[in-house]
Symmetry: C2
Subunit: 450 residues, 2 copies
């Protein structure tokens, strides 16, 4: 079977573009509307997307918009929202973000196993370390942990979660009414994890979920982030403006995965793409300009500050002048470098810079017809830059509808995308293997040796 | 309007009675079936119950049954499960248990606010401190915190959560497209909490939820537990075998609540009741004996050990002899005393004891007709023993159906129970006041003084 493009959809109810909520198509109360999120999920499933993806924050502070102008200042907690949406869909995956720094592995393992059960095997966990002092201050700290320590903790956290997901073997539940044996105790296992950051005994009080392990997703761009992703992630979300840097990233991740003894085909690299789709180039350009015209200056400036971890306070600078120098900081290192690169390459003023990043917050913006957009996606897909894409419709719901109604059919015409779901679980649709329970595997080895 | 009985329903998918899963009516895979939980929720709503209630554990270890015989060894995480059920119901409340010892207040506040939004104002939080070393060992500790420290931490945790729920005032969201003002920054507030156990800045990144605050529920029986409940809880779940002890508890809680300056009518005391309902007394008795006959000896002994916090290991004792003495322990003090009281009062052998507690795990078991059962409930309700009851159907779904089809109509005939829901939120149905946002209240005071 020919390799196909995988597609995730970033669908924050408040909209992706900083001015999305001011667009007449976008409901202003979308961020807190269950009905609106349900409509988005149904559209994504109609478009045969692999998964609905939600980012997450554990603080207000860096919202990417001026005081009072941020439509994403408040929203649902992702695993509860996705649990509410899952029963209305059949094939769409749900990838929720959860922090390795501010949650305990037992809690993480449990909520994702529960979502995987609720959805019949369609859960994914986007592993993040969560940057910023404002978040630390919501969790009994003054400042965030150093970058390297956050990543060591993240690696342990993922290890513990995976061990807990293997607590019950797949066939542990006998449910034999006559003998009174509900489960086989020899197929229930403690993790007994003792690490630098976590000591967790287990077992988890949730059964192995339909996928064995919910799909592990990550988005690290730094050296630490790439290392963790190559070691543990099955889907990697990444931000690139050019095929060359995407290729560098793609090849680096695949090589690192190989270095960890992993099959590089089981580590899917999916750059973010923010599409403005028109039937003609003019129509697409008009859509881009219309949304851009809705950005207030304060929101544009606030967005750049938010995206760089609060270290780029441009209030008072000439918005039609260049971006000033700023020191590198602990958090968001890679995002800061990316923003600066975009400014330098395009010789952007501050205003032009925020207008450009406003649509996708650092991801790749494409303005075009279905044909030109698919030309680009195909080029990236066929030349070691991408295994698929995370689509970030700049406003909702019509920019998502545009993609589903215009771009998906063109992808299908060229044989690049599915015409129906391959399976019922997220893993099956992504072409990822079912992780064999470690205890079952160990028993097989012993039995084979006997 | 005459005072009415409030009703909660304890509906663990694995069944309440230790042998429930061996009953032919009960699906053996109920604990992990979303469809089964959905069926239970719809039945509870048909019966006009105030709320669906779920207990919770953060460990396997004390399951109340022998190795392999515990049908509740694995289940869903409650807030994700309730998020999945809420959209299929319109009026039923959802009270999920969450631990003040092993979760962070920011996380607690967020998941319950999210569930309250998803359900349109039907969320409740059962505040527990979570006992047992096996749980501590899942969260980086060897042993649990001492009893008193757990309760001090719990009081702080609830304080922080309530402060976070007030982050946004109710009218903070202006969503004014023309001005670009999505919210009014003067109506967004930090908690800036600095306590012994928690330092939390805030604000919470979820709006005030439909109920303002999800309903606070507790079940503490010890002196510390009663103090916390009287100070913070709006619904109190409690276990009594006799009207006299229930009255003592009821009057004590109401007096303590008054001592904290609270209206005692806003602190609802709801004892647990496990009903075996028959059209005749003989039929009810047969139902009781049938379920009792399904208890395996090992499971009965394991149940007693589990209910007393793992301190009552009766393996090897003569099951037809008396209960031996055991030392009091840190955790589950009140539950241990209750179990011993049941044995002493009834002069029970070990076997008789576990048979009796098997149905309701320490709660009040009533075997009777709709008339005799309602006689008892009415007596408790009208004589300062209860404002309502938490119904624990011993097996599912038919014991719940029995209650809804036979007991509810009798309650309604006597004018003791609603014939339709009073409101759409849990708070409205329970007759609890809407908590005014502290910042809005403070502003009113200032304005009144000017």
């Amino acid at each position: 079977m020919a390799r196909k493009i995988k597609l995730g959809a970033f669908l924050p109810g408040g909209g992706q573009h900083v001015a999305a909520w001011r667009h007449p198509d976008q409901p202003t109360d979308g961020a807190l509307s269950l009905e609106f999120h349900k409509q988005l999920a149904l559209t994504a499933e109609r478009g045969l997307f692999d998964a609905y993806f939600l980012a997450d924050n554990l603080a207000i502070g860096f919202g990417g918009a001026r005081e009072g102008g941020n439509a994403r200042v408040a929203g649902f907690e992702p695993t509860t929202l996705f649990s509410a949406l899952a029963p209305f869909t059949k094939n769409l995956g749900f990838i929720a973000t959860s922090s390795t720094t501010y949650e305990e592995p037992y809690t993480t393992a449990r909520k994702f196993a529960s979502l995987d059960l609720i959805s019949g095997g369609r859960a994914g966990w986007n592993v993040v370390t969560t940057t910023g002092d404002p978040t630390a201050q919501n969790f009994n700290r003054q400042t965030q942990l150093p970058h390297a320590e956050r990543y060591r903790r993240a690696a342990e956290h993922v290890d513990v979660v995976k061990a807990l997901w293997d607590s019950f073997e797949d066939d542990a539940f006998t449910r034999d009414v006559d003998s009174g044996k509900f489960y086989d105790p020899s197929k229930l296992h403690e993790a007994n994890y003792r690490g630098e950051h976590f000591q967790v005994r287990g077992p988890l009080n949730v059964s192995r979920s339909p996928q064995g392990h919910p799909v592990i997703v990550q988005a690290g761009q730094s050296d630490d982030g790439r290392g963790l992703a190559a070691q543990t992630a099955e889907v990697i979300f990444t931000a690139h403006q050019h095929i060359e840097t995407a290729q560098e990233f793609y090849r680096d991740i695949k090589a690192r995965a190989r270095g960890f003894g992993r099959d590089p085909n089981h580590v899917l690299v999916m750059p973010g793409v923010s599409p403005f789709v028109g039937r003609t180039l003019e129509e697409a350009q008009e859509k881009y300009e219309r949304l851009t015209s809705l950005i207030l200056e304060e929101d544009g400036v606030g967005l750049l500050n938010g995206l760089t971890g609060g270290t780029l306070d441009l209030r008072g600078y000439d918005l039609d002048g260049p971006l000033p120098e700023a020191p590198p900081t602990e958090g968001m290192k890679s995002r800061q470098a990316l923003i600066r690169q975009i400014a330098d390459e395009n010789n952007f003023t501050i205003r032009q810079l925020y207008q450009w990043v406003a649509s996708a917050r650092g991801h790749f913006t494409i303005v075009g017809t279905p044909e030109t957009i698919v030309d680009t996606l195909q080029e990236w897909f066929e030349n070691e830059a991408a295994d698929g894409f995370n689509i970030l419709p700049p406003w909702l719901p019509t920019a998502l509808d545009d993609f589903v109604d215009l771009v998906i059919p063109e992808l299908q015409r060229r044989g690049l995308f599915r015409t129906e779901y391959e399976g019922t679980t997220l893993r099956e649709n992504l072409g990822l293997p079912f992780p064999i329970n470690r205890w079952t595997a160990a028993r097989s080895v012993v039995q084979a040796a006997e």
